[in-house]
Symmetry: C2
Subunit: 370 residues, 2 copies
């Protein structure tokens, strides 16, 4: 059912591809807007389609805690629940459990934790995470992993990486629904040889696609780049590669140039709610008083609904007044910017001009190629 | 420019009419969604049109305080500012100033008050309120009035009513833009003879339409009904009648049966944000646990976007999780319900069956005709 076609590879390493699931196809490189609780904050599925989103991400942990996977299953699955008929990927909850810090305990069996809502004791195992995700019903699901802190020393990082590998095997064995694609997750903290070992061993178990986890978790940028470089050569060309939780527009461009096909990040949606817009000329902080009477759109020439219809002055007014429309209009622009960036990169790879495109992007953006 | 045609009058007293401004026409009876700060909370102008809204209300006081009427004027007026090209009515700010309680002082000249935001001293006079509304640029504007408390004793109510009349005359004299319709406001607290006197004297000054203010401010329902009955016989048939700040669906039906043409109220939008839906069978409080796994729409057969696409279970989930999409989807339903109710009443008057329609409404709604 699940298929990945590598359509074209740029000399720089950027890949144009196509992912096909039972739900439908989408081109890569792709950005997946985050809909943590089965809702991309403030926007409807129709708007997501207008924005150009092809696949979104939802969080297993959050949906497991509330409203509960059995309720979603009973209502016909997450697509029907949230009224989105395109692809959905659910993460495993590993990252969220990791974020709980002292509220969780990791053993060979799995993770036990206290709910972030009411402190109720709960646990997740590789098997239960698959079961929960089968109930939720996303098109692409992820195995439980341990996301080791970036400061991990070598013994911890190595043990953690090996635990994630054992969990990966159990996850694959636990899977009962072949209609859902299951990706493997490469870990290894900030050790290049562990990253390589993790990549090789994960590929040996064999998954529909490969994710790179534990990056963009606070480490310095050059470390993320080194870990990426240590990983991708050991991933098969004919499977999609997903860089989890990344990142800024610059990170996406960098990732694509390193052969990454899929990305997700809360940055465009969270920054939107905080009044920060992404534009080709960098960030625009709408609360700045200079925009109080500015009739221009956030970004000249931007084709999003927000830029076509509203001035910076109005968007500032909505933001300052905490109007409910503010996060929505801001989110529409930022997601449009992210999704358009991916489509531009697809076209550039297609047209054999990705390297040139990237140079112009970095010049416009005032970044120096990281 | 401004025109009101009385198309048909039902034997019960309900009126079908048409208001025409330089901006366009709409049928009455009409409900005006409230967009306090030049935004109907959570919904776009396109959605308001889908909902069936023909005219919305914005608040002069709020826009005067922030972002300021000069900024709105500089940006081409409130329609362009908020991207809504249909009719807008701005209230005078009198009710908001009244709500400030101890923070305001009323004199013959006008009202001085401390801003609800930073306590800065400011003032409004009948003349400045017209100037502010001319800058904002709505299609229908209102004169400054004093909204006397419903518990007012007779001397206070009489003085206040007379002050409002003098302010009405000054407002009419201050007006410079004939393209904007100016309505008069009838006051008189809970004294039927003062209501009659106010109506007669306001009509004598002469306005494009007549509003009834100072009702639905905490008084008992029967008092509102008595004041309405004391007022409407003294208003001209050939001008629209606007019952300010009213009300529940039952109030709207009652008002229409008493010959009211225009209504506004925060109830559908505010209740939506608090998770309460209006339906033909009464209110539905979405947080109720019985809806946790309910696949039904809020209201069977409702044609709104929310009911066509989302279950009670999902709407409850969004509400419980305080998702930004929640107030939006809830608002769409409630405004659709209100606007559809008005259109049903228009059709019933048109078809000479308003009395019958009203009986069925009251039966469905479990109300006893108030």
């Amino acid at each position: 059912m699940f298929k990945f076609e590598l359509i074209k590879k740029d000399p720089c390493g950027a890949r144009l591809g196509r992912v096909t699931t039972g739900r439908g196809s989408f081109q890569t490189p792709v950005f997946m807007p985050v809909g943590t609780r089965a809702s991309v904050k403030g926007v409807t599925p129709e708007e997501l389609k207008d924005i150009g989103a092809d696949i979104i991400l939802a969080n297993t942990y959050h949906l497991y805690v509330r409203p509960g996977h059995e309720i979603i299953k009973g209502l016909g699955g997450v697509h029907r629940f949230m009224h989105w008929d395109k692809n959905i990927l659910t993460d495993s909850g590993g990252f969220q459990v990791w974020s709980l810090g002292k509220m969780r305990r990791i053993t060979e069996e799995g993770v036990s934790f206290s709910s972030h809502i009411d402190g109720a004791k709960s646990s997740l195992t590789p098997e239960s995470v698959i079961e929960v995700q089968e109930a939720i019903g996303a098109d692409i699901i992820m195995p439980l992993d341990e996301c080791a802190p970036h400061q991990s020393g070598r013994p911890y990082a190595e043990n953690s990486m090996n635990l994630t590998l054992r969990w990966a095997g159990r996850s694959k064995a636990a899977r009962t629904n072949p209609a859902q694609a299951l990706f493997g997750i490469v870990q290894g903290a900030m050790f290049a040889d562990l990253r390589e070992e993790s990549a090789r061993a994960t590929v040996e178990i064999g998954f529909d696609g490969y994710a790179i986890g534990g990056l963009s978790v606070g480490e310095e940028k050059h470390l993320m780049q080194e870990m990426l470089a240590a990983t991708t050569p050991h991933l098969p060309e004919d499977r999609p590669r997903y860089l989890m939780g990344v990142g800024t527009p610059e990170d996406l461009v960098y990732g694509v140039s390193e052969g990454i096909d899929m990305f997700d990040c809360v940055m465009p949606t969270r920054n939107a709610r905080n009044g920060t817009f992404f534009t080709r000329q960098g960030k625009l902080v709408i609360k700045n008083v200079r925009y109080a009477d500015d009739p221009a759109p956030v970004s000249d020439g931007c084709g999003c609904y927000t830029c076509r219809n509203y001035s910076r002055a109005y968007l500032r007014h909505l933001y300052m007044e905490r109007e409910v429309l503010s996060p929505r209009l801001n989110t529409i622009h930022n997601l449009f910017y992210y999704c358009s960036l991916m489509k531009e990169m697809q076209a550039a790879i297609e047209g054999d001009r990705f390297g040139e495109w990237r140079k112009r992007f970095e010049r416009d953006n005032g970044s120096s190629g990281l």
